[in-house]
Symmetry: C2
Subunit: 282 residues, 2 copies
């Protein structure tokens, strides 16, 4: 496994691999890898010849009062996991390698990014689109794999690829969960013992809503209220609970089949903001 | 010479050429080709194996009251010129091929685009950056050639390539002029006989300013006033006359060597807005 820190070297490696006719996949991460990331590597591994995992905590997608500085990092452990999971190249650039002092170009999305996390995290998705553009241009992958936990991010990147005509296939990685249902996230590390236990309510309330819908419940206000109640009672502070069209991220007002309904939640347990979601198809 | 109208076909052709190890160059144009464009093709031809010329009048870089609809088009004539000039592939997509109905991703620049043409044409450079990103992603060139008449556009694209890490070399094409000095432009066609004659004042006043500077004139206010006077007396209506650092497009306040000074002018003759510029190095 190769570890590359320089943009020019990474681009050269990709050019060489492309010339050989090898199919390149990219798994973009901010490191502190867990089983969710590993599942993305497996999908990449199964669908390409060369798996590149980028490990870069991207400053421009954090707000001024967010956790950029304390975001967990452990690159030695990450590299070990990558090697064991079948990654061919880890791309781990410095901030100065990715951003120059004359930085003035941004890639942004102006529809899908206005709701859900985009509402409470202004400029977050501008940072995401910009850094993913950079990664695409440097690494020139045929495939990129994104996890469905960050579903809004996934939809925005899919839109970016389509609009900007990147010749890249986006593959979706299903959410990977702890045994008790909590969606895996590097930020779970912030939770204390009790918060960690209570946070499972996010997923159980999602599942509960799904079951009610499949059993015929059509009242979205009632479903939303039930989730709100359960999360509040478990000590969570709700940022949003939304029922949306999974394609366009527009609010879903009634449930007439066929639909793909996204139920998305962001909630704080202590100071830690967690997100989770679930798609119901009917 | 191949003429390609579809994004997928263009991307495939480039992939094939890249696999063969051929060097691809791109000359992005809005068509209605003149000797200025041909000079860019020659530079591309000399520096690559496959010359792609894109011919696309990009709607998103025109303002609501600008000349998108009446912008001159003559694709048959353009294709003939391309063939004679040694273009290998003309990429001439429709608007629907380049923009989908779900368009929500934009690439923009937020420093260099705030001055000069960016001031009087809001969103112009956002349209330029977005369409050039698309062209880069579809055509995957090793080289792209941009003319220096649109100097601000050139600097913004150079910045975009650097910031977004496109593995593309930008080559600069010197301004090509009519015998009497008028910079070649597809928009010159709009000028009536008298406007056409008077518009030569733009370049002669640029040259005059340059000569005065090389002869020791340091008073930028005076130089600006002289240009203003000459253009007004020739019937031109000034949009801007600016003296700027040619690198960062920041206002130049005094002339201490070494410098690369950009003198940039936009002026209307009749309803036609013309731009021109000149770089003075000391």
């Amino acid at each position: 496994m190769k570890i590359i820190e320089k943009v020019a070297e990474m681009n050269e490696a990709s050019c060489e691999n492309r010339k050989k006719g090898l199919k390149i996949s990219l798994v973009p991460t901010m490191g502190y890898l867990h089983d969710g990331h590993i599942s993305l590597v497996k999908i990449a591994r199964a669908n390409s010849d060369i798996v590149v995992l980028s490990n870069f905590v991207n400053p421009t997608q954090f707000g001024p009062n967010e956790d950029y500085n304390r975001y967990p990092r452990d690159i030695a452990r990450d590299n070990k996991i990558c090697k064991e999971s079948g990654v061919d190249i880890v791309f781990a650039p410095s901030v100065n390698e990715m951003y120059s002092k004359d930085e003035s170009i941004w890639v942004y999305e102006d529809k899908l990014s206005k709701v859900l996390c985009g509402k409470s995290r202004p400029n977050h998705f501008r940072g995401v689109c910009t850094v993913v553009s950079k990664l695409f241009n440097i690494i020139q992958p045929d495939i990129a794999v994104f996890g469905m936990k960050d579903y809004q991010q996934l939809r925005i990147i899919e839109r970016m690829v389509e609009n900007l005509k990147y010749p890249i296939s986006i593959l979706r990685g299903p959410i990977v969960r702890e045994k008790d249902g909590l969606a895996m996230s590097s930020r779970n590390k912030y939770l204390n013992c009790e918060e960690r236990k209570n946070a499972t309510t996010i997923f159980s309330s999602l599942e509960d809503a799904k079951n009610k819908i499949l059993n015929g419940e059509k009242n979205l206000e009632k479903l939303k209220y039930d989730i709100e109640l359960r999360i509040s009672q478990s000590g969570g502070k709700i940022d949003y609970i939304e029922f949306m069209d999974a394609e366009n991220l527009t609010p879903m007002t009634n449930l007439t089949a066929p639909f793909a309904l996204l139920i998305a939640i962001a909630a704080f347990y202590g100071n830690t903001r967690l997100i989770d979601n679930l798609i119901v198809r009917l």
